[in-house]
């Protein structure tokens, strides 16, 4: 009897202990947009697009549903003017990197995001971290990671590991919401281990 009962968009839902708000919503078929979430990976809470409004003991706050644990009697609203506004800004900011990414275009249509609102950036990476985390958590190869921080942060393959592991795996490729990951891999391959690429 560990069930946690609460409400999402007026619907009574139940979650078991340890579940997040997002997991509960997905189980119940309630849509919350996500970018950095993946069922096989630990919650990351980086893209912030799954932000929702939570009312708890009379107080309303904004939380990120992929890391917020299900709690008894809370009232979750997956959409509100404020939530929609924030999601719209986040999508617009990411479209400055990847204006043609299908996932972003889909969300842009829902939230009325306007592409080209912000000055473009030359990198397609939206820093969802799916590739980095998949490689570490599922493939357990640690062949790529984040380097630098702040606005200079980017993903990078570690040539010594990538040369040995990546050709046989490449499981991270389809995860990338943009085409950036493949580009980085091809570049690393060309610069650091061109011989093994020829052999394959």
């Amino acid at each position: 009897m560990n069930d946690i009962e609460f409400e999402i968009d007026g619907k009574k839902v139940t979650a078991s202990k340890g579940m997040t708000v997002l997991e509960t919503a997905q189980k119940e078929g309630i849509y919350i947009p996500t970018l950095c979430h993946h069922e096989k990976l630990e919650p990351f809470g980086a893209c912030r697009v799954c932000i929702v409004e939570v009312e708890s003991r009379g107080a309303t706050k904004l939380v990120v549903s992929c890391v917020y644990p299900a709690e008894k009697n809370i009232i979750v609203r997956t959409r509100s003017p404020k939530v929609d506004r924030i999601r719209k800004t986040i999508i617009e900011l990411l479209m400055a990197h990847a204006p043609d990414a299908p996932q972003l275009l889909e969300m842009a249509a829902v939230y009325g995001a306007v592409p080209n609102r912000y000055e473009k950036d030359p990198s397609f990476c939206i820093h969802c971290g799916l590739c980095v985390r998949y490689c570490a958590e599922v493939a357990k190869k640690h062949a790529l990671g984040f380097v630098d921080r702040g606005v200079h942060k980017e993903i990078s393959f570690i040539p010594e590991i990538a040369a040995k592991e990546c050709h046989a795996c490449k499981e991270c490729f389809p995860l990338c919401p943009t085409s950036y990951l493949q580009a980085v891999f091809v570049l690393t391959e060309a610069l650091s281990f061109p011989d093994s690429a020829v052999k394959k």
Binding site: C47, V64, T89, R117, E119, F146, R149, G150, K153
Partner: protein, 250 residues
């Protein structure tokens, strides 16, 4: 706060006017003169749009451009951000860009609204307190010095005469005594003149370093900064020679 700045700190040097005090480190905010009688307390500073933060204070005089202050602190914070979440990493990146454009005179209508939107997203949706407080330098300067933002954007004018792209240096021919100090000091050789020939700044060569403004003897005060108005045309050659009479005045 007035006590700390004017009594303990000795006030603003060189007879300049006090403009604002920035408290709490980079993600704190700027507090204008009319709020100076606030006690320095956690709640009081937070209510005024700043914070206690590290407890540091930076007092600024009338020569400081508040848009540039916001740009400076946001620029610091883009490097401090860890880069994990979107509102902070991307929001600050864009805020810094827009603020830089404004200080360069490339601000557009709607920039303030865009900045406000980015600030809201960062405050509400960032992962940690750095992102949540990072827009403070912008929000507090907009709250108390909105007219400076508007002057930059609509009139291409920097009221504090500080943003290099928006100011020009100009030698007032009425005041110039052709002493040659500025001409010798100019690192860009942009000043034309000679003994008894009124000096003129070549605006195309001028790098706006401000050296001439600093070295012009206070008793002359001939070098001025202009912003938002066109630089007057240089005086005709035949009027450039300083006549005996003005020399006697010296």
């Amino acid at each position: 706060m007035r006590d700390i700045i004017f009594t303990i700190g000795g006030g603003i040097p060189n007879g300049k006017k006090f403009k604002a005090v920035q408290t709490g480190g980079p993600s704190g905010g700027c507090i204008p003169e009319d709020k100076l009688d606030l006690p320095v307390g956690f709640d009081e500073l937070t209510r005024a749009g700043s914070m206690m933060g590290s407890g540091g204070m930076i007092a600024m005089d009338e020569d400081t451009c508040m848009v540039d202050v916001a740009r400076y602190f946001i620029s610091f914070l883009t490097d401090e951000s860890c880069g994990k979440c979107v509102p902070c990493r991307e929001g600050l990146r864009q805020m810094h860009r827009i603020l830089t454009n404004i200080t360069k005179g490339q601000g557009k209508q709607g920039d303030i609204e865009l900045l406000e939107e980015l600030a809201e997203t960062a405050v509400e949706a960032s992962l940690c307190a750095l992102g949540k407080s990072a827009p403070n330098p912008f929000l507090s300067t907009l709250k108390y010095f909105r007219e400076e933002y508007e002057a930059h954007i609509t009139e291409k004018r920097c009221p504090a005469l500080s943003c290099k792209e928006l100011i020009s240096f100009y030698i007032d021919p009425e005041k110039c005594k052709a002493c040659g100090t500025c001409r010798k000091a100019c690192p860009a050789s942009a000043i034309n003149g000679d003994k008894k020939i009124i000096h003129i700044i070549d605006q195309d060569k001028c790098t706006k370093c401000g050296t001439c403004f600093e070295v012009c003897p206070t008793k002359f005060g001939a070098v001025t900064k202009l912003s938002g108005v066109p630089v007057p045309a240089p005086i005709p050659e035949d009027q450039r020679t300083i006549k005996k009479k003005s020399k006697e005045n010296e």
